[in-house]
């Protein structure tokens, strides 16, 4: 048996050598020629410097950051009882470990798991946690979690390399993590119960957003299919649902859920408020998602269905293995955009009195000790939201890339 060594068939056809340009040349070429570009560059740099200087002066001399460390636990978990915080830390560790393992397993074939970019990302995360005005204990905890993440990723890659079939169980595992998470937060079964009225802060925001995202996706798929159906009743129902929900502002749906539903229900029947919020968000997002997915469905050429039929696949299999994967792949950016806006839409719940990340900030700002500190607190809120939204968009980029490779 001869082994074929991969070999460049014609060494002369190697790609042209990359021309190395020094940073100074780059700047000269892209920013400073011709003269009017140089002028524009200087004006824009001047504006940025001015704004940046103003911000730095404010951040280091005027701003009083004590409001953040003093209320960090409120921002994180709202009015969650402090003696039960350990449960949230355990949950956070579990999530981090599973993220690491999943990452490792998914990236089992990558030679350098900790590539330069990943290392830079980790370093930046560590650095930010040190800059943030939070108590030392929290900084150490964040560093610890980052180390845990790296270890778990390393272990995950080792496991994934040995058992490549493990990849398909990741989704189920995450579902289990979810159940464990709900149990740890809510209590019961041996843990002390913590009612949803005590849930709050970033924890509640993430919880409501992730549950709504997980629920609105299948519902959106169903309504997208329903809208394309040839059955008049199914089609009518889907169209009505989508158009009615899209015609109502989200705040109205949430308001109805929080305040008006009790008027229709008999006394004594009071669905949980967090649940009502999740239902409202899900109903709203699934209508928009259905339209996104329908866009994807319409982009799939008819030939795909016909080919699947010719191969003898029945309609459910055609939809789930041929049409849907392609349709969803085509609209991933739109779907992720929808998810990100759903994540941010949770802030509307602060208007109806749910103590999520932004809602709890309002209460903190009313504390006589921190009156007038809204700039600091809102900046902190913005940073929190940005981290999650950026993570989502990075994740979507990664998924898109993977799906394209497997094509």
């Amino acid at each position: 048996m001869t082994t074929i060594t991969p070999q460049n068939p014609n060494p002369n056809l190697s790609p042209p050598a990359e021309i190395q340009i020094s940073p100074i040349n780059w700047v000269m070429k892209n920013l400073l020629t011709p003269w009017y570009n140089a002028l524009i560059t200087f004006i824009i740099v001047g504006i940025f410097c001015y704004a940046g200087y103003g911000f730095c002066v404010w951040a280091f001399t005027e701003a009083q950051w004590t409001v953040i460390p003093a209320n960090l636990h409120l921002f994180g978990a709202g009015r969650y009882p402090s003696e039960e915080y350990w449960r949230l830390w355990v949950l956070l560790s579990i999530i981090v470990i599973f993220s690491g393992i999943s990452w490792g397993i998914v990236a089992r074939n990558v030679t350098h798991l900790f590539s330069r970019n990943v290392l830079i990302g980790l370093a930046i995360a560590a650095l930010i946690s040190f800059i943030l005005p939070i108590p030392l204990l929290y900084k150490l905890a964040i560093i610890g979690l980052l180390i845990l993440l790296s270890l778990a990723a390393w272990g995950g890659q080792k496991i994934g390399a040995k058992m490549p079939g493990l990849g398909q169980y990741i989704a189920i595992n995450w579902f289990l993590v979810y159940l464990i998470g709900l149990w740890l937060i809510g209590g019961g079964l041996g843990l002390e119960e913590v009612t949803t009225s005590k849930w709050g802060g970033l924890m509640l925001t993430v919880l409501m957003a992730t549950i709504s995202i997980a629920l609105c996706f299948p519902i959106g798929v169903i309504f997208a299919l329903g809208r394309q159906s040839n059955l008049p009743v199914v089609k009518l129902f889907s169209v009505l649902y989508i158009e009615i929900i899209r015609g109502i502002p989200l705040i109205a749906i949430l308001f109805m859920g929080q305040v008006m539903i009790p008027l229709f229900l008999p006394e004594g029947m009071r669905p949980d408020r967090v649940l009502r919020a999740i239902i409202g968000l899900t109903l709203f997002s699934s209508a928009y998602l259905a339209e996104n997915i329908r866009g994807g469905l319409q982009a799939i050429p008819r030939g795909q269905t016909e080919a699947a039929k010719a191969l003898g696949l029945n309609p459910p299999l055609t939809v789930s293995f041929i049409v849907m994967p392609q349709a969803i792949k085509a609209v991933i950016p739109a779907i992720v955009g929808q998810f990100i806006s759903l994540f941010q839409d949770t802030t509307l719940l602060s208007i109806v009195g749910v103590e999520e990340f932004l809602g709890i900030s309002r209460s903190v700002l009313a504390n006589p000790n921190f009156l007038g500190r809204s700039s600091e607190v809102l900046l902190f809120n913005a940073l929190g939201f940005w981290v999650f939204c950026y993570a989502m968009s990075t994740g979507s980029k990664y998924i898109e890339k993977r799906l394209n490779v497997e094509h």
């Binding site: 009225s197 169903i222 329903g226 199914v234 006394e267 269905t305 109806v352 209460s363 009313a366």
Partner: protein
């Protein structure tokens, strides 16, 4: 054709499954819906008082974002004058001031929440007006804070009355009755100031501090609270003019006298306790007082509590957990707080204020 037919069936199946699932979800009330299990609404005969007792917690509507009245402190607990009224009622009915579920309510949803039974009572900076008492269907318990719209100016500006404001600039939060009152009063005074409106409080106060406006108008309690956060509080004065009456107090839903009586008399009790000199520190000694009024008030004699459907010593529990009105005031708004707000109208009637409790007998 086969494909189309089965495709239809498939989507029909999916849809039916979805509908069935959502129906099932609706039909099974979630586990945590235990609140409000007891009967008791404006329509049924039983009182909300029984519902609260059976449930074991009081659902109290608060704003959650008003300095001095309701906010979340660093340890994650609700604090403030409005919150203390909730605690007082919980202590009276359930014997424990901590058995309160706070529900944050926006000014637009507060009355709906009360009439829908989402909350048992509202203690949320709500001005007592005739239309709210009648058309909206609320029942107002005694006023716990007499507020009024005032005007804050820089002392150096020399502005003293509304008449001085011709051509001056006044900052105000948009969409409140404050804005309407301001235009009314200025028209009455015959002057036309420039009015700058802001959606939120913080930017409005920032504009005032940057001298973008000569005066700032809001409720006096809020002005005083905010003045303490300005860079030089001593440079600013709140003028004597009062542009509106704002009696703020707790309220319950109409047509539930038994429950309303409890909220009303617990509030009166806080005032009466101050008048009788009973504080959270001396309430235990006071129980053995010789004064028959105090004895009756604290339930050592007579059965005033039973008439309300409470224990006779309900006021002992209230005062030992939150203190009398004076203590609540001083803690949240007065000398012990950052605001150092004078009692003013909120002093006892014996000291020139408006607080007056009917006799407990």
């Amino acid at each position: 054709m086969w494909c189309v037919m089965t495709m239809r069936k498939f989507s029909a199946f999916l849809l039916t499954a979805a509908i069935a699932a959502s129906l099932a979800a609706c039909a099974t009330p979630p586990e945590s819906s235990s609140d409000g299990e007891g009967e008791g609404s404006s329509s049924s005969t039983a009182s909300r008082l029984d519902a609260v007792k059976e449930r074991g917690t009081l659902n109290c509507g608060v704003d959650g974002g008003i300095p001095g009245f309701s906010y979340v402190d660093e340890s994650g607990d609700y604090s403030g004058l409005d919150v203390d009224v909730c605690k007082a009622v919980a202590a009276a009915v359930l014997g424990d001031a901590d058995k309160v579920e706070y529900r944050r309510l926006d000014s637009t949803e507060r009355f709906t929440a009360v009439s829908g039974g989402e909350v048992d009572m509202l203690s949320r900076n709500t001005t007592w007006t005739i239309s709210r008492d009648t058309e909206v269907g609320m029942e107002f318990a005694p006023t716990t804070f007499y507020d009024g719209q005032g005007m804050m100016v820089r002392e150096a500006s020399g502005l003293k009355e509304l008449k001085d404001f011709d051509g001056k600039t006044v900052c105000v939060e948009a969409g409140t009755t404050t804005e309407l009152n301001l235009t009314d009063k200025m028209r009455k005074a015959g002057v036309t100031p420039e009015i700058k409106t802001f959606q939120q409080a913080d930017p409005a106060y920032a504009a005032y501090e940057e001298e973008l406006c000569d005066g700032f108008t809001s409720d006096k309690s809020q002005l005083v609270a905010r003045r303490s956060t300005l860079s030089k509080p001593e440079d600013h004065i709140v003028l004597d003019v009062t542009m509106s009456k704002e009696p703020l107090g707790p309220l319950t839903v109409n047509n539930d006298s038994a429950w309303f009586d409890v909220v009303k008399w617990v509030t009166y009790g806080l005032i009466e306790a101050e008048e009788l000199g009973i504080t959270s520190k001396n309430v235990e000694e006071m129980k053995s007082s010789e004064d028959p009024t105090i004895k009756r008030f604290l339930g050592a004699e007579g059965d005033l509590g039973t008439g309300l459907g409470l224990e006779n010593d309900f006021m002992v529990k209230v005062i030992s957990s939150v203190g009398n009105y004076g203590e609540i005031y001083e803690r949240n708004l007065g000398q012990e707080s950052k605001f150092k707000l004078d009692r003013g109208l909120n002093a006892l009637w014996t000291e020139g204020g408006l607080l007056y409790a009917p006799p407990f007998r």
